[in-house]
């Protein structure tokens, strides 16, 4: 096992990794920006190093300063958390070249999976179903038109290097395709310095269901079942749960097996997630692999009893997986609400500032992952996530009731949070019945059609 791990991240995930390290008896070094000076999680580290000013580009994204800090503090491994450098294959490779183990997948697997087109090639080889679309990149409009007519409208134009909805367009006819093709290329060129795009079938009101994976460096890969993350607003997840409601066991098991095949095909190890879109007939289509620990990982920890971050660190240290597929059982129902420092009453504007009052919920079946506390100032520089509120109950209806109870107990003053929108979600019949898809929030709450990429 490692002696000392550097955490190249901040906020709740930095705290989450600190906890895993403590549980493993591993020392912890944190790096932080001047915007996070004196933040609560830093006092829990053995050492904390200031690496730059508030803007992430000059601190949490600064390879050289992070690696310099790692070298000077004699850590033997680095945990990237999520976001920032967590899926940066170049950084992962650089760490390993400096004899600092990057706690994540092999960098070549990260590279392949980080490119949507490469990832799809792997999926095909692993016989993982894909959304019907162009085999590869599209050079010309004519080519795009031809394919679009083949697979039938509506179609989605996607940037090969895209993500988070950028460089995406929906086309419902030839005209829409021509205009969308151009604008998607330009947007992708600007955003990712890579204008290559491809086409695929656009699914109406799909569900977003992902499979949690764990693989070791000895060729063993297992899945830890699925999470339903359909409840999103503008591609930002709000609520995640496991098991996915109203998902036939057969479809679930197929997806899980497919995810494992893909991971093996990619020579993947560490924790990872395979994302699928699921249509109304419960057909599932591979979207992408997230080669990192995810925000919503605790949902899976609750239903399986497996500590994913501890396992991720053990795997990076070369240990064999301590679980066989047969050991993994889904027990009860777990749900997560992302509590963000945002104002739902004002179009979810970030609400940075000092938390003057913080009375979090607790008690039976409640887990709270947060770095916040009374007196903590939420800096404006970063992600607005301030807490992950989770419940674990024997059944989904009980989980929903427990989450309502917990949300009602949550008192936060000084900043606005997404607690009210969650209270609304958990008292909405369609959600309670598990009738969710990625357009739920816009359709049900804002009476809009599905928010279409580029619209």
């Amino acid at each position: 096992m490692f002696q000392r791990v550097l955490i190249a991240n901040r906020g709740e995930i930095a705290l989450r990794v600190i906890r895993a390290c403590r549980d493993l008896g591993v020392g912890v070094v944190c790096v932080y920006s001047t915007a996070d000076r004196g933040a609560p999680w830093l006092r829990l580290a053995d050492e904390a190093v200031c690496i730059g000013p508030g803007p992430a580009a000059d601190s949490y994204l600064k390879y050289t300063r992070i690696i310099a800090a790692a070298e000077k503090t004699n850590v033997d491994a680095l945990h990237p958390g999520y976001g920032f450098l967590s899926e940066n294959a170049e950084f992962a490779e650089m760490c390993r070249e400096c004899n600092i183990e990057f706690i994540g997948p092999p960098h070549d697997a990260m590279r392949k999976l980080g490119n949507k087109n490469e990832a799809k090639k792997l999926a095909r080889l692993a016989k993982v179903p894909l959304v019907p679309g162009s085999e590869g990149l599209l050079a010309t409009e004519d080519e795009a038109l031809k394919i679009a007519r083949q697979i039938g409208y509506p179609v989605l134009i996607k940037a090969a290097a895209g993500g988070g909805g950028r460089g995406m367009r929906v086309a419902r006819n030839d005209h829409g395709l021509v205009t969308g093709f151009q604008s998607a290329r330009q947007e992708a060129e600007a955003a990712f310095k890579d204008g290559s795009v491809f086409l695929e079938k656009y699914l109406e009101q799909p569900r977003h269901i992902e499979v949690q994976l764990l693989g070791d460096q000895h060729g063993n890969v297992i899945h830890l079942y699925e999470r339903d993350c359909s409840l999103q607003r503008r591609h930002q997840k709000l609520v995640e749960e496991s098991p996915a409601p109203n998902l036939p066991v057969r479809a679930r098991d197929e997806m899980c097996k497919a995810a494992v095949r893909l991971a093996k095909q990619a020579g993947y190890y560490s924790a990872g997630t395979c994302e699928f879109l699921v249509d109304k007939q419960n057909n599932y289509y591979f979207i992408e692999v997230n080669s990192r620990i995810q925000v919503e990982h605790p949902v899976t920890e609750l239903v399986t009893g497996v500590d994913l971050v501890r396992e991720q660190i053990r795997i990076a240290a070369g240990e064999k997986l301590r679980y066989k597929q047969g050991d993994i059982v889904q027990r009860g129902s777990a749900m997560e609400c992302r509590i963000n420092a945002e104002d739902p009453g004002n179009n979810f504007q970030p609400s940075a500032g000092t938390i003057t009052r913080w009375q979090p919920p607790g008690g039976p079946g409640v887990r709270l992952d947060t770095h916040a506390c009374a007196g903590y100032r939420v800096p404006p520089n970063y992600d607005s996530l301030v807490a992950k509120l989770l419940v674990h109950q024997p059944s989904r209806p009980e989980a929903i009731t427990a989450m309502r109870r917990a949300l009602a107990e949550f008192v936060v003053e000084g900043i606005k949070t997404t607690v009210p929108i969650h209270q609304k979600i958990f008292s909405t019949a369609a959600f309670v019945e598990g009738q969710v898809d990625t357009t739920f929030i816009e359709r049900v709450f804002y009476g809009q059609g599905a928010s279409e990429p580029g619209k």
Binding site: Y32, T34, R37, G38, A39, P40, L42, R43, L44, A45, E47, A48, V49, C50, I51, G52, P53, S59, T64, R65, I67, A68, A69, E71, K72, T73, C98, T354, T356, C373, A374, G375, Y376, R377
Partner: protein, 165 residues
Amino acid sequence: MADAKPPTKSPGPFDVTTVRELVELMDKFDLGEVDLNDGDQRIRLRRGRMMVAAPAVVQAVAAPASLPAAPVGMTAAPPPAAPGKKLLEIKSELVGTFYAKPAPDKDDYVKVGSRVSTDTVVCKVEAMKIFNDITAKVTGTVAEVCVQNGQFVEFDQVLFRVDPS
């Protein structure tokens, strides 16, 4: 390290512990009166005998009183050992190892008393085998060298203090 200290608490205006702090300060500093305003909030403490309030101290008292706005764990930066005189700071823009001299057998770039100007190289900071010259960016006389040769320095760490006069 300093930044890992437990956060300081955030008293409210009518928090008695705040008032106790203030009164103890009054006692300690033999104040006659303390009068704090925060928006429409006000704390005014006065001794039986009238005395002249020292603005500096009132200010000092006002600082802890305004703590609700301070982020948790905000550390009170240790004031430089400056006897009244205002010193300029040369801070590290890098994370790495501080080298006071160009080579082991050479003299330090600067010592206490050395005159420096904007472009004067005052030290090197090594990060990932790369040695970076650090320039003063201020003009004056080196009053204090805050780190030792070979020491690990972080971003924003004070390396030198310079007397501009």
